[in-house]
Structure formats: C-alpha cells, structure tokens
C-alpha cells in the first residue's frame, strides 16, 4: 500500500518532467511555416513573460526588502519596548510565585494530602511549551534543554517562550474561540482580523485592561480595527453582556436575561441595566452574507433601535452590576463608561476573573470552578491566594506576562502529573499537575511540528475572502476536532471519527513512514529510537521501552519499517495527545 502511494507520488513528479519536453519537429512545409510562426509567437510570449517575471522579481525583491525593513522595524520596536519595560522596572514576579507555593503547600498540609515531587526536565519542558506557545518542542530544542546544565534553565525557558511570537498566537487561538460567538447569523464575519489583532496585542505586551477596553469600545469595520469583530460576532447588546460579564468578570448573567437568577439574587433589571451600555451600538451592513461586498461596521448612535433583541428585553437605564447608575449625557457614548468601570483595579471582578482563568488554563482547574461562573455560592479552593493573584495582577498594571511568569515559575506548576499514594483522588488542591487535553490547535501544530506540513491550503485566509467556513487546512482540522463550547480542559473529548482520522489519514498512516526514515537515516537503532521519542514525547525512551521497541523491530522486515510504525504509534498515543 505504501509502495503504491510512493509510486503515485513519483508518477506525479514524472508527469511534471514530461510536460517540460520540447515538441517533436514536423516535416511538412506548410506545417513548418505554421510551426515557425507558433515558435515566434512562443518566443515573443516568452520574452514578454520574462519581462513580466523580471518586473515581478523586482517587485518581489522590493516587497521582500520592505518586509525585511518592516520586520527590522518591528524587531527594533520590540527591543525598544522590552528595554522600556526593563527600564520601567517590570514587576518582579518572585514574591507572587513564593506566595503561590506557600498557599498551595499550606492547604495540602491542612488537608493531609501529600504533594507529588517536582517534574523531571522533560515533563516540565513539554508542558511549558504547550502551555505558553501551544506546541510541543522540536526534537533538537528538547535535546538541548535536557542536556543543559544551567540551574536557571527553567526560568530562562519561561522567559524565552513568553518573548516568542508564538505566545501571542497561542493566546489568540484561545481568546478568539472565547470572544467569537458560534451562531449562524454572524457567518459573514471573519475570524482572522480578530486573531491577528489579539496576537499582536499579546505579543506587544499591551496590558489586559487596555485590550479589554479596546475590545469593548471598538468602532468601524474589521478592516479598520480587528477589535470590532467582538461586537460584530456578538450581534446584540444581550449577547455582548453575556459574553463580557462571563469573560471579563467571571460572572454568568445570562440566566437573568429572562428571569431573576435562581442562586444569586441577581435581578432581571440588573441584566438589562448592563445591556443598556450596549443598546446604542448598531451594526451597519450584513453579518450573514457578504455577497454585496461591503464590510459590516460597528457604530454608536442613539437613533433607531437595536434589531433582533429577545422578547424579554427591557428598556431600563444603564446601571453598573451591583453598582450605581452613571449620569450619561444625551449624546455621550456609553461603552467607554462601561469599560472605564470594568477595567480598573477597583473593580473586584475584573482582575479576579483573568487570574482565575489563567490559573485554570495552566493548572487544569481554576481556583473557582467553573472558571467563568464565580458567583458567591462557589467557594474558591484557595480564597486568599485568588485575592493575592488578583491584587498583584492589578498592581502590575494588568501585565499578562507577569501573571504567566509568576505561575509558571512556581513549584506548584512544576510538579509532576504523576500522582503518589494519597493524592490520586485530588482534583482541586493541586497536589499534582492535572492532565489536560490538547486543544485542536495544539494538536494540529504539534502534529505538523513532528510530521511537517499537511498537503492543502496552508496559507492564511485572504483578506477579502468571501468563502464561508474553514478555509485553511489548519482551520479545517480545528473544526473537525472542535470539542464544542463548555468542555472541560481535563476531559478527552474527541470521538471515533477523530480517532479514525488520526490513525488512517495518509498524513499519519503513511507520511510517518517517510518522516521516520528521514530522521533516523544512518543512525544506530538506539539513537534512532531516541530521536523518535524526543521528536514526539520530548523525552528519551526508558530502558524498558527500548527493549520492548527492539523486540518490535525484530518482528519487522527492516528497522525502517518498524520506525514508521513506532512513529505512527507515538503520534497516536495518549502521552502525545495529552498535556501532562
């Protein structure tokens, strides 16, 4: 079967060669004249093409040098901002890291639950890569890290990953999924502008309060400002309130849309009082289809009424949640007032929500769970710690990387995921690291790190793309593996169709053979095995594993065939697909 596939690949390549062969000469005189004319035409065309190619090449060189200059500018800007940050005396995470470890340890002692030991370098390496940049480390990076004797190497790696552009990309993947409501009525709204916007902001160290303010108050089209995507995808004031309170305050108000909240005593009027801050927002243009070209725009106006509100909508004055009714001038736009109230150190919900969410993202469980439903009935596992995280995050100027740095450097985060006797049942006190499932994006990026690109459209979506739905291979993969909303990060949610694809898609079933052959070429068996393990599981195989795999190699016709099988099993096994 593999041989047949390889053969067909070769045939395709051969077809390309045949096509380049010159035409055979003809003898007939009339035909000859015709042929000469054709050749001349061809030569002219060729000259034209060459001229065009030259222009193109020049343009390309220019574009490339411009891009390089831009990249240089960007790099300079980054260096400058990094220098500025340093000059500003970036908040020192160490006191918070220490507080984390004391709080977690004290609680374990109180509850008489033993803590698992520190994770080995390989376990830490893989985890921190996945958590900070969303992908497994390449084999050479893994090898270098494991062999590095520097006592500070973990802290240095955390800094390196936080400075990587892929940190922004990973955060954008997470937040894009949270901010973009999945409904049919916004299908003409593109995700790309929001993803790019988020990625740039996270990478440029824009503070969380500033990002949230921009997301909540953006006007114009997606082209003008990627942040407008948030309202364009949310569509109406009520959905905006549901989302903003859930994501930025850790409060689920949506029950109060139609009736008073059953547990919290929140009133329906409070819900619509919050929605009132978004009632003057209008979407001009069509969010359902873009057949007519024009891009929908967000604008603020007091004229007319917002469309498509639910029947339960109430017209009440704008009022802050558990707070006051602000005085609003007639023409004054309301969203900035809301953002100003929300994104401040004084708002007790704002910093707590982000701290709890980041904690949940890294540890597999929040200090309050569910992480976005933090009402008073839900007791935090470590209330003082949550308060401290929130306080220091606010004091840092809502510095996102400060929070990540503080958490990742803690012993709590660096514990092994292997439970020990007495802490197997613990799922809330962080006695050991909880095993997390890959997001579809993590899985795709990790698979392609190991196996190279998947055939198909790997380019980013065109700006004016009118196609709906997933376009790139990555988008399609993510859509296929999408576990849906509200799934727990510790659950393995893929089903049979996904397992079938991972086992039987040519990418894993046959490409693994070619990749295994390439990476093990010329290596003795033990080194070859080590290479395969480093590339996938970011560790060296144990002695037991080596002896088992050697036995397997013995069963196969050639070691090369066995390497393909082993790589196939490695990318399919749970140790690969789980972040542990």
């Amino acid at each position: 079967m593999i041989r047949a596939l390889t053969l067909s690949v070769m045939l395709v390549a051969a077809g390309g060669l045949f096509a380049a062969d010159p035409p055979k000469p003809k003898v007939d005189a009339a035909k000859k004249a015709k042929r000469e004319a054709r050749l001349k035409a061809q030569a002219d065309a060729k000259a034209k093409e060459e001229a065009a190619a030259k222009v193109n090449a020049e343009a390309e060189t220019k574009a490339r040098s411009e891009a390089a200059a831009k990249e240089k500018d960007l790099a300079a800007a980054r260096a400058k901002s990094a220098a500025e940050r340093k000059a500003k005396n970036p908040p020192d995470h160490r006191s918070l890291t220490k507080k984390i470890d004391i709080a977690i340890y004290q609680k374990l002692v109180d509850e008489k639950i033993p803590a698992s030991p520190r994770a080995d370098d390989d376990e830490f390496l893989r985890r921190v890569y996945l958590d900070l940049i969303g992908v497994v480390p390449p084999a050479d990076k893994a090898e270098a890290f494991l062999d590095n004797k520097d006592a500070q190497k973990r802290a240095k790696l955390i800094d390196e990953l936080l400075d990587s552009q892929n940190f922004g990309r990973h955060m954008a993947d997470i937040w894009d999924n949270l901010l973009f409501q999945r409904v049919t009525d916004n299908r003409a709204i593109q995700r790309e502008p929001l993803t790019t916007w988020l990625q740039d902001k996270f990478n440029a160290d824009i503070s969380w309060d500033s990002m949230v303010t921009q997301l909540l108050t953006a006007n114009g089209s997606q082209e003008d400002n990627g942040a407008t995507t948030y309202f364009l995808a949310s569509l109406t004031a009520d959905k905006m309130v549901d989302s903003a309170t859930r994501l930025f305050m850790g409060v689920k108000m949506e029950c109060a849309q139609c009736h008073n909240h059953p547990f919290t005593g929140w009133k329906q009027n409070e819900y619509w009082g919050m929605a009132a801050f978004f009632m003057n927002v209008r979407i001009q243009g069509n969010t359902k289809n873009n057949k007519n070209g024009g891009m929908p725009e967000v604008m603020e106006t007091s004229r007319g009424k917002q469309k498509n509100l639910p029947e339960s909508a109430k017209n009440v004055p704008a009022k802050f949640f558990q707070g006051t009714e602000p005085k609003i001038g007639g023409a004054e736009s309301r969203r900035p007032l809301f953002a100003k109230w929300l994104a401040t150190p004084e708002n007790k919900f704002f910093s707590r929500a982000f701290a709890n969410r980041v904690w949940g993202q890294l540890f597999g469980a929040g200090i309050v769970n569910p992480i976005d439903d933090m009402h008073e009935e839900r007791t935090p596992s470590h209330p003082e710690l949550l308060a401290e995280l929130a306080k220091q995050f606010a004091t840092s100027g809502f510095d996102v990387k400060f929070l990540f740095r503080a958490l990742c450097n803690s012993e709590a985060y660096q514990r092994t995921s292997r439970p020990i006797a007495g802490n197997e049942q613990d799922a809330t006190l962080f006695s050991h690291m909880y095993v997390k499932s890959f997001t579809p994006e993590q899985l795709y990026d990790s698979l392609t790190t190991v196996l190279g690109p998947v055939a198909g459209n790997n380019k980013e979506r065109m700006k004016d793309n009118t196609k709906r739905g997933p376009v790139t291979v990555r988008d399609q993969f993510v859509a296929f593996f999408d576990p849906g909303e509200g799934t727990k990060i510790t659950d393995y949610d893929a089903g049979i169709p996904q397992a079938l694809r991972l086992m039987n898609h040519p990418f894993t079933a046959t490409k693994s053979v070619a990749v295994a052959r390439a990476v093990t070429r010329g290596l003795p068996v033990e080194s070859a095995l080590e290479k395969l393990y480093l590339a996938t599981l970011s560790r060296r195989p144990t002695a037991e594993e080596v002896s088992k795999r050697l036995a397997y190699i013995g069963k196969c016709t050639t070691p090369e065939e066995a390497y393909g099988d082993i790589l196939w099993a490695l990318v399919n096994c749970s140790e690969f697909t789980l972040n542990h």
Binding site: R418, L500, M503, N504, A509, A569, S574, E575
Partner: protein, 420 residues
C-alpha cells in the same frame, strides 16, 4: 488496551470480511431476529430536505387556486388523500404515512430555523448549544457497547450533540457510496494489527503512570474506533455489498445512496440516521426544481419504506420527511422563472412507520396554504411527537455542561395524539 479484541479475533474478522460471500449470510439472521422481537428499540431515519420544501407543491396541494402552482395532485392508496403528481411511488404507500399539514414554526431564516427544527430550542437561548434529535436518540436509545456510532449523518453537516458531548456526536458520511472517511487502514492488515499492538503497549504504560481519566477515555475511543474498523457491522457502510437488484430500486444519486445506507445501518441497529437532500431553497425557478427534487425523493424514499416493511422494521423505524420551513403561498416575481420564498407560518412534514397510525392527514391550511386553520403544530409539539414515536420521554431532563437540567423538549409541548 483493545483486550476486547484479541489478535486472533482480528484475524478472524479480517478473514471473515475477505470471505463473506454476500450479505444475506449475516444480514439475513439479523433481520429475522429484528422481526421476531417486538420490543426492539426504535430507530429513526430523518430525511432532511435542506432549504425548505414548498408545501403547496408537494404534500399540501391547492389546485385551481391563484398561485396554486403548476403541478396536478394525484390520488393515493388512501381515499381522500392527494399529493403531488411527482410522487407517484409514494402515492402507493400513503397507508403507512401521516402528513402533518399544520406545521407552524415561526423561524424564517435558514440557519436559525435549521437549529430550531433539529433541536427544539431557539439558537443561543440560555447560552447553551442544544443537542439535535440524532444526539438525543443516540443518548436515549443508543447502546454504549455498540461497535457502530449511534448517530450517523449522510450528505451534509448536521447539528451535533451540543451539551450532550462528543460521545453523541454524529459520524458523518459525506458520500454514502464512499462510506465512512478513514475507516480503512492505509497499511496492510498485518501491519495495522502490529501498529495497534504497539499503541496498546504505549497506552497501557502511560495510563498506569498518570491514572488520568482522559488517558482512559483516549484509550476507549481508540478501542471503539479499531473495533468499528474490524467489526462485521461496519460492513453496513459498504453499499457494494447490497445486491444489485435491490440497489436499483433506490435509483441513483447521492440521496438514493443515502437512503439505502440508512436502511442498512438501521438494520444492524443504528438508532438514528439523517440523510440530507439540498436544493429546496427555490426562490427562483421553483417549478422545474421542485419537480426534479421530488423525482429525487420519490424512488429512494419509496424503496426505503418498502424495504423496511419487507424486513419487518417499519413498525420500529420512524421515517421523517421535513425541511426547516415551507415556502410562500404566493409565487414571487423574481425574473421569468419565479419561485417561492421562506415561509415558516404554515407548512407540511411527513411521518412514516415507527408504529404511528398511517393513512391520515393531520391539520389543515386555508385555501391559499397561507395559514393553519386546523390542528396547528409548533416545534415543541413536533419534537414531542417524534420523541413519543421513538419511545423517548420528552420530559426527561438531561444535564447541561454547567449542570443545569434541560428538558429534552421544553415545557408546553403536546405530542400529536392522533398518531398514536
């Protein structure tokens, strides 16, 4: 892992699939068993007419009225019931069918109406993603140890499991003639078995170390996928195993293949299959297109009903024919080949088999087909009716992902009692 399927078993199954002479060998006894046991749990085949079929040009004809359309009604084998002339075969099976002419559902945009008619809940209400009928059937009627998925969709995207989770997500077949994607190993049987053995060793090792439930779920999912690949039931996905004569009855085309696949799957015990036929959004050129689409429905749906009947499966299999809404009673003025636009206020769906009382029309629209004047059926009523026919308690509450209890069908639903 995969201990449930030993190496010897795998070999046996692989050789079985090589040697299996015809489906009668193992389908025969299964079908016979199904007809013996009266208490067999129910199945459902949803024939989804995507885009919204025109009720006045299919099952609620208004001959001789303004905008009544171009087709003639024909008599059926039930005195007094007439349907479009483009369903000649179905006309002979109306004794098994009930036409619901009083559908009135209130959502006129494709996206929202499709969600509503698949789940019984309006899109986005309460911030939840609701399970579609297929996922509900998978949860309530499916068997956990069944080698096949309990919910299969054919021919298009469907609506998934929502908060019921991935275990009830459909396996989707893009083209019935080609079967399930990635079901066959790309390497030889021997090599695949070896690979699975290798994977088994790795899985066991990792699970022993972490004890994580996710590792266990991963293992179980892979076990089920391998079991599906090796199971004899998976042969139901292979239409080439159907005797040619029988295949001919269904006619040709993707929808015909889909109907045949649905029958084969129900026969081996899949509780819910959805087959999609698109193209019913006939804003333009309504009369040529509906005629052509009706032609695509008539043979396969009739063959499906007859086949189920012959196999003793019709009483336990509910066949539903429906789209997301009907179409405007008035013919629009779009160009020289006009059509009809979206119309959720009054339309028709058809139920066949599943133990319902056939041979009847329930509900009535006015002379224009514009308003329901007798026995209106809203979405809740309709969902409750389908649940009742399938033996699902529509008042049962399932837990959403945040632990909120959600009724299978929201409060206020009344199943159409005339059917039972």
């Amino acid at each position: 892992m995969f201990e449930s399927l030993s190496r010897r078993d795998m070999l046996r199954y692989s050789s079985l699939s090589l040697l299996a002479p015809s489906l009668s060998g193992w389908f025969g006894p299964l079908a016979a068993r199904a007809s013996e046991t009266k208490a067999k749990s129910k199945s459902c085949i949803l024939l989804w007419m995507d885009g919204g079929p025109s009720h006045k040009d299919t099952f609620d004809m208004k001959p001789g009225t303004k905008d009544g359309g171009e087709y003639k009604p024909i008599d059926t084998n039930v005195p007094g019931i007439q349907i479009s002339e483009h369903f000649p075969k179905l006309a002979g099976l109306m004794n098994h069918a009930a036409i619901l002419r009083g559908m009135s559902t209130g959502e006129g945009a494709h996206g929202r109406a499709k969600v509503y008619l698949h789940t019984g809940y309006k899109e986005g209400v309460g911030g939840l993603v609701y399970p579609s009928l297929g996922a509900i059937a998978s949860k309530e009627l499916g068997k956990a140890d069944f080698p096949l998925p309990n919910f299969v969709t054919v021919g298009n995207r469907s609506y998934g499991a929502g908060f019921l989770g991935p275990k009830h997500q459909p396996i989707s077949v893009a083209d019935a003639a080609r079967g399930v994607e990635s079901l066959k190993a790309l390497v030889g049987d021997g090599q695949f078995d070896r690979r699975v053995g290798l994977l088994e060793e790795m899985e066991t090792g990792f699970h022993k170390q972490t004890g994580a439930s996710s590792a266990n779920d991963h293992r179980t999912t892979y076990q089920r996928a391998v079991r599906l690949m090796q199971s004899k039931e998976a042969q139901a996905f292979d239409l080439s195993r159907e005797p040619a004569a029988n295949r001919t009855k269904y006619g040709t085309g993707k929808f015909a293949d889909g109907c045949l696949l649905a029958r084969r799957l129900v026969e081996v015990g899949v509780p819910f299959v959805e087959v999609n036929l698109g193209g019913w959004d006939t804003h333009q050129n309504n009369f040529e297109r509906v005629k052509q689409l009706s032609g695509q429905v008539d043979s396969p749906m009739s063959a499906l009903i007859t086949d189920l009947k012959e196999r003793g499966l019709l009483d336990s299999t509910l066949v539903v024919w429906m789209g997301e809404f009907g179409r405007t009673p008035k013919i629009n003025t779009r160009g020289d080949k006009p059509g009809r636009d979206h119309y959720p206020k009054a339309w028709s769906s058809v139920l066949v088999g599943g133990g319902i009382k056939g041979g009847q029309v329930i509900g009535k629209t006015d002379t224009e087909g514009a308003a329901v004047i007798e026995r209106p059926i809203n979405v809740l009523d309709f969902m409750a009716t389908v649940c009742k026919a399938l033996g699902i308690d529509s008042n049962k509450q399932n837990e959403s992902s945040i632990g909120r209890p959600i009724r299978i069908v929201d409060k206020g639903a009344n199943a159409v009692k005339e059917l039972f």
